[in-house]
Amino acid sequence: MSGSLAARDLSVRYETPHGSVYALRHVDIEAHPGEVIGIVGESGCGKSTLVTALANLLPANARIDGSISYNGVDLAKLDAHRQRLLRGDEIALVSQDPMTAFNPVLTIGDQLVDFQHHRKDLGRAQKRARIAAMLGRVGIADAERRMDCYPHELSGGMRQRVAIAAALLTDPGLLIADEPTTALDVTMEAQIIHLLRELRREYNGIVIVVSHHLGVIAELCDRVYVMYAGEVVEDGEVDAIFHDARHPYTQALLACDPARFQERLDRLPTIPGSLPNLTQPPSGCVYAPRCDRAFAPCGSVVPPRVKLSASHIARCHAVTP
């Protein structure tokens, strides 16, 4: 089973002793089966809060406004038990650090059997057979023997492959990969990117890739959401974002990536200024204090959603269609 995912006007704030932190504000996200969605932004942009909200794993001090619907069902209205069933069955998460994702004192095989606990129709032997097949699919040679390994006996790249296999075992409709290659070396990163791209040919659910690395997003995604300080500032097809970015923040972020320049630069481009304090988010455009194109309304009026094409939207006063 796989269905579409939609977040409408989603806001998340954390209640802390120092006041509310408005970590996510008025975010609209849409994803359809078979799509790979990229969420890109720097630290503090709210990308982790967003995916944690989608996976329904926010901490107790988080308050959610707006709606998240998956396959037509509003996730917020489900009771805890139904939410849990959905997480195990439909939503899977591949986390950044493959070492901490596993229990160090159980073998890989035992843990992957446990991950299938909701499959009451399968016996242990059948579950192990599924694991072996899945490990083979993610490129682990000698899967039967690897199942008896403990997590520390595998290299970082191998562990990330096992984490992807674990996520796919539940046959999820929504696979969230949070910084899937950040902890890996570049040659291993290339292999995991290749693996994810291969897998999507046979997998027809939604994949959400969260990364701060523009290269990873460009390699993997169909559509991209660019986030800054808790808001989506621009979204569109991957080609439009990388070749026709219109929001000043997207343009600045792309310009900062040293991987875009083949010739040596004497000064690397930067974005001057710092993130706004999210306990008191600015009333106008959130990027205005750092924007070189800011003018009168940016400081006080929330920027409009400017539709640049059927799928390309920028939230900025200075952008015209």
């Binding site: 720097e42 630290s43 290299s155 970082g156 790249g157 191998m158 070396d185 570049v186 040659t187 291993m188 990163e189 290339a190 292999q191 990117i193 290749h194 701060h212 690395h213 523009l214 290269g215 990873v216 997003i217 460009a218 390699e219 995604c221 991957v238 080609d239 990388f242 070749h243 600045a252 972020l253 792309l254 900062c256 990536d257 040293p258 991987a259 875009r260 320049f261 083949q262 040596r264 630069l265 004497d266 000064r267 690397l268 481009p269 930067t270 974005i271 710092s274």
Partner: protein, 344 residues
């Protein structure tokens, strides 16, 4: 001009010699060369990028240069003088500085920034009439407000902590700065800030720098020369531009190809290499890269290549270097079938 720092045939050995392992296994195991025969030099004012993946020994090499790890063999010559004894290293550390990888962890959480910045002078026993003023001058040097002297490390952002790290490293006016992953964990918009700062101060103060990193996209813009490490050995050195435009060692070419390009129109087709980095505990025979090299031949499996000069200021450790127009380069492009258009 004589080099500021010359390393000759340096090796570092980590022995597996814990009490427990000796009890379990009475036969002593062979020790492992974590750094093996590294020869490298750094000219005054030069920036060298030391590049490698995790486990390649790049951090160990930087630590060995400053005497934080003991070398098993080889020579280190700093400013024309042999560095061997603890006293030699102590004297050398007065004119060199290290920026450690984790900027917040390398600042003691209970000391204020002002104290942390002036610690090097205190440790080296240098006279300092006004400690506060000295700290403020250092903060000004790296573009931080003077009010930071009273802050604690946890009150700083990642980029600010990095700046404090730069200020502290430069407190002794070193001739050599060793920076271990100076941009790890920083956002792209901030990483340029730190690198620009190091570049500016380098021009102003004239120190030489060795930047240890795995980030090729970044090092391309800040280094004059590159040294590529694999399993504790240098596989290639040369001027940065030349290494990027014409990588001669298949490993270097692989690293450059593996870097994802932020352009959806130039997606990679196939990973250039497969497999994992072998462990130094089980160093492959012959050329250590042969297990993953797309153009390895029989000779590579048995005979270790020598580290030999290839053209002006280039050194390569490979039997079949990828020379432009040569058949090895063609074979490499074919084998990796990578259509990024980076290697032509």
């Amino acid at each position: 001009m004589s080099p500021l720092l010359a390393i000759d045939d340096l090796s570092v050995t980590f022995a597996r010699s814990g009490l427990l392992s000796r009890l379990i296994n009475p036969f002593p195991l062979p020790s492992f060369n974590v750094i093996d025969g590294v020869t490298l030099s750094l000219m005054p004012g030069e920036t060298l990028g030391l590049v490698g993946e995790s486990g390649s020994g790049k951090t160990t090499l930087a630590r060995t240069i400053l005497g934080l790890v003991r070398a098993a063999a080889g020579r280190i010559v700093f400013e024309g003088r042999d560095v061997q004894t603890t006293a030699d290293f102590r004297a050398m550390r007065r004119r060199s500085a290290m920026m450690f990888q984790d900027p917040v962890a390398s600042l003691s959480p209970r000391l204020r920034i002002g104290t942390l910045l002036t610690e090097p002078q205190v440790i080296q026993g240098l006279p300092m009439p006004d400690r506060r003023a000295a700290a403020k001058a250092l903060l000004a040097l790296v573009g931080l407000p003077a009010s930071f002297v009273d802050r604690f490390p946890h009150e700083l952002s990642g980029g600010q902590a990095r700046r404090v790290g730069v200020a502290r490293a430069l407190a002794m006016k070193p001739h050599l700065l060793l920076a271990d992953e100076p941009t790890a964990g920083l956002d792209v918009s901030v990483q340029g800030d730190v690198l620009n700062l190091i570049g500016e101060l380098k021009r102003e103060l004239g120190f030489a720098a060795m930047i240890v990193t795995h980030n090729l996209a970044m090092i391309r813009h800040v280094s004059d020369r590159l040294a590529i490490m694999y399993l504790g050995r240098l596989v290639e050195t040369g001027p940065t531009q030349d290494v990027f435009s014409e990588p001669m060692h298949p490993y270097t070419a692989t690293l450059i190809q593996s870097e994802p390009i932020p352009d959806p129109r130039r997606r990679s087709q196939n990973p250039a290499v497969t497999g994992e980095i072998p462990s130094v505990f089980r160093r492959p025979s012959g050329c250590e890269f042969h297990t993953r090299c797309p153009i390895a031949r029989d000779r590579c499996k048995t005979e270790a290549p020598t580290y030999r000069p290839m053209g002006a200021d280039r050194m390569v450790r490979c039997h079949f270097p990828l020379v432009t127009g040569g058949q090895e380069r063609e074979a490499f492009s074919r084998a990796s079938a990578n259509q990024k258009g980076k290697l032509t």
